[in-house]
Symmetry: C2
Subunit: 388 residues, 2 copies
């Protein structure tokens, strides 16, 4: 495995987290900072009702440079109008003042309940202390952006003489609310903006964009990368490959910790007419409530795989060519259910990782998607009171 046993930061990056009083308890504000300005790239949610930090962040990213990221949890600053925009800007400015840097170099993220104004006074009051407590363990920052994630998520790996560190939060809720994915990557590799942007978009397309917990697209999703150059240049191809490896691992950490999840589902589609079809089939399978409950129940009701393929109305399908396996056991062949060992498949469906491989038998299109099972835990977390 290329990953460090305990994640560590690249040269020049540090982080801190604190309880500033938005949540009842636990850290609710994190700060990530580089010693020097960094080349930066970011991708944001496609939701048409994005949060104020997304609106401000898109504008900021035109500069292509960042030096710090400030993140709060519990209140997402979405559905808050012009006042929300002003408060997002105040949050960024407060972080910039505390660090003594240009506000144009600070990206802000918020995750939590929608439609509530951000308690920005508390954030402003906490930032000087937070900036003074920056330290070298990325797990501290990772813990500060958790909501109901069950554990902090960070990883790091080396790329030639540089280090790549990825910190993320996934599909937990703050107050009962939608899953929001926030992922930040930091490297001391020296890369130009276009290379960094291309590497990020390419890697996200194959990893985070192929993750779904419940089909509901957050208004706050953000993935940003900062490259401060302190380790000098690296081979762009090797860097892009390491970024995909790192984001794949982060995607699996997020899928495994999906709301209420007891199993991660990894779907690999081959033999589709083209890549677009393969992606649609893979997403349809990880998003199907009936496939997800099949995994939760350890129920070898594998005909549901055919249903989830067949409902991709715009894709090419030849029902008589579809094959599928679950954790290596072939269950469908030429579109019909085989007489497989049901007891064995039940056991496999109850494992930590459920691999569903589907072959359309048509062409060279391939794709992979990640998800998790649909459980009582999901219903409980999301049916709980707004005010709890």
């Amino acid at each position: 495995m290329p990953f460090h046993e305990h994640p560590r930061f690249p040269r020049g990056f540090r982080c801190a987290s604190v309880h500033c009083g938005i949540k009842a308890q636990g850290p609710d504000l994190s700060l990530f900072a580089s010693e020097v300005p960094a080349t930066a790239a970011a991708v944001f949610t496609r939701n048409l009702v994005p949060g104020a930090p997304i609106v401000v962040g898109r504008e900021l990213m035109r500069g292509g440079r960042l030096q710090a990221i400030v993140v709060n949890s519990r209140v997402s600053n979405v559905g808050t109008g012009a006042e929300g925009i002003a408060r997002a800007q105040r949050m960024g400015s407060a972080a910039a003042s505390a660090l003594g840097i240009d506000p144009a170099l600070v990206l802000m993220s918020s995750t939590g309940v929608i439609g509530v104004q951000l308690p920005v006074d508390k954030i402003e009051a906490a930032l000087p202390g937070l900036a003074a407590s920056l330290q070298g363990d990325p797990m501290v920052g990772a813990a500060g952006i958790m909501t109901t994630d069950t554990h902090p998520k960070a990883l790091s790996l080396d790329v030639e003489s540089s280090t790549l560190t990825i910190v993320g939060k996934g599909s937990g809720m703050i107050e009962p609310n939608m899953a929001t994915m926030l992922v930040y990557a930091f490297t001391d590799a020296a890369l130009d903006g276009a290379t960094l942007d291309g590497a990020l978009r390419g890697a996200v397309d194959e990893t985070l964009n192929m993750l779904s917990v419940d089909t509901d697209t957050s208004t706050s999703d953000t993935c940003a990368i900062l490259a401060n150059g302190l380790a000098g240049p690296v081979d762009p191809g090797r860097f892009a490959s390491a970024l995909t490896t790192g984001l794949t691992r982060m995607t699996e950490m997020l899928a495994r910790d999906g709301e209420g999840a007891t199993s991660m589902i990894r779907v690999t589609v081959t033999g589709a007419s083209d890549r677009g079809d393969a992606r649609a089939f893979a997403k349809s399978l990880v998003n199907s409530p009936l496939v997800k409950t099949m995994v939760f129940g350890g129920d070898p009701n594998v005909g549901r795989i055919l249903m989830a393929i067949g409902k991709c109305f715009d894709c090419r399908v030849d029902a008589g060519r579809i094959g599928a396996s679950i954790c290596g056991v072939t269950v469908l062949e030429r579109g019909t259910r085989l007489d497989f060992d049901e007891g064995r498949v039940r056991e496999l469906l109850r494992g930590d990782t459920v691999e569903i491989d589907v072959d359309l038998g048509l062409g060279e299109g391939r794709a992979r998607a990640w998800g998790c099972d649909l459980t009582h835990g999901y219903v409980d977390e999301n049916a709980a009171y707004y005010s709890s």
Copy 2:
């Protein structure tokens, strides 16, 4: 209300049901028949892996005439290859023989587990007795096509001198399996094929096609209408309107009895740029797991409405113009959350019928969609063993 207190058949239609031995117990085979051949129209699932009865049925409907419908439950005859097609044809032929009519006039439907061959011998053995027991109460046929529906579903109403009767089954499971919607309409009105087909497609588009329990499209969905003409001609416009009224009522019966449902959700979208956008928003709202769990939990986490609108990436949205109400209480205005009475909204969300009205503030596009809440019952029904 235009509906008869107890549903009855139009002139010339009868039905019967029986336990033929596919299920462990309870009726699992129904027959609906007209005294004389009828003008007919049908719409089928768009799933690309349709069941054998759908493949055969599409071919049959080219004739535009039907005299009977035979339906079994527990085995859907999907993913069964050429042998499945042959068995579907045998099922239709057996019904035709028992009724002494042309097999080209018999539509067959199957609902249940996917990938298991149809026990057609049992069906063939039962059909003569079934044909001999035809009677006049549509509820008998409705009971015979139930799976885990909690009650049989039929309704009837008058259109001028004719009667329109609709029988349906919804989102129960047989063995734990996908929801399948089967809806049959019968009338003694005399209507030509093109008029009947147009009325059916128009009505289905506004009603059954706007119903979703869990986003999973069955491989067996069928809606067919038979007009035997025994009551003579009716005004086509009045008939089309009655068909929409009847199918709206049936859609609500199906939504209310969705798998595990405790509330029906009815979403009305107005003010969208056009009808297509309005339909997309309405469907996104009834399909969102976070909106559905909000209703189940009686949780006034109304920001989720903004999220579900915003994830319709191909639609026109102005976040600052979105308004929404829940059962008449305004909760969102100009894209921001109002300070509404949370206790009152919690109570309303727990009602039998939850109305969510959304106004996009952009144009004249309107649409309505139906669904139900996402509950522990849904997870339980669909996580149960295939073999249970």
